[in-house]
Symmetry: C2
Subunit: 211 residues, 2 copies
Amino acid sequence: MTALSGKLSQATAERLSLYLRCAEQDRQAGLLKTSSKRLAEALGINDTQVRKDLTALGHLGRPGIGYTIAELIVALRKTLGLDRGWNCALIGVGHLARALLRYQGLRERSFRIVALFDNDPAKVGETFDLLTIYPLAEMAHYVRTMEIELAILAVPAAAAQAVTDQLANAGIRGILNFAPTVLRLPEGVRFVNVDVALQMEQLTFRLQSSD
Amino acid sequence: MTALSGKLSQATAERLSLYLRCAEQDRQAGLLKTSSKRLAEALGINDTQVRKDLTALGHLGRPGIGYTIAELIVALRKTLGLDRGWNCALIGVGHLARALLRYQGLRERSFRIVALFDNDPAKVGETFDLLTIYPLAEMAHYVRTMEIELAILAVPAAAAQAVTDQLANAGIRGILNFAPTVLRLPEGVRFVNVDVALQMEQLTFRLQSSD
């Protein structure tokens, strides 16, 4: 059950990502300052929590004055590891992968999809968005030469564990998993699960409790 | 910024979904009982938090004895609104929608995709997985006659706001949004955002902090 571990720090990290989105929106709207109260309202949480979260980032903000948005954005991006680029491999080139290749949300961030991998001989050698599909067996080579650190796992659930082990052996450090299955994770590899059913449950939970 | 509101209750609801997955895994493994300690370990949280979360569900479990897995599953599914089926519409039939149609994680849950909608005249009338693509303009009709309550929004970011307003007018109660944009939500519509970049940031945050 290692896939679910570290939930506490994950909740904090998710809030940092949301603070970043709020600050970026405010900057786009032309604002220069924000406050723990404003951030708290946007997230629907207590402003004490916001101040506590942001204190961990260093000497940001002043009582009664608030946070300089530009400073806050720099600090949040640094904490989230977004002050540098990350080369990513996309594993399993089906419909989901093709959707992710076009997904602006990733392109605008620090994530560059630089290589595609698939085990299907019919797909290997094909090109999407200027990227060639390589066989999984050659991953270690490309991970090293292309300095790939992250992998987005978009393979069927039945294949996910075997591919995860291959990714770890190839030197991948972090995996974003879309397969609806719980994976045993190799030592030293970080992991985030995108569970669409769980997100749908968040919706029905809210509808249920508002009925 | 209403899209980000209600974060506190969302954290709790996410834990309920994760408890459900753990309990279901344990049941599949043939176990009959679980404990707050076991659930806490799986999620990487404190067992006091688990007991607090589960107390809200009713009289479950006994000190020193733990929880009957079958009872726990029934209670969690009820709280999450999974003790009934939910008819869903899939809006925007591109690669993401096609991936979601095949996504077993949804099929295994209570979510039935019963209708597809798209504004592209070239797509309207086409069929995927026995489902016909209808024009968005006719959505209100189908929402009523097919008793559709939820919509999965898989349209480009630029179209998301206009389509959201159409969904609300058609009587949709909840929206799962994949478009990487912050939406102004019509009154009475619940909303969950699937933000792939945010999930990637959770990964780089953990890699960053382990460096």
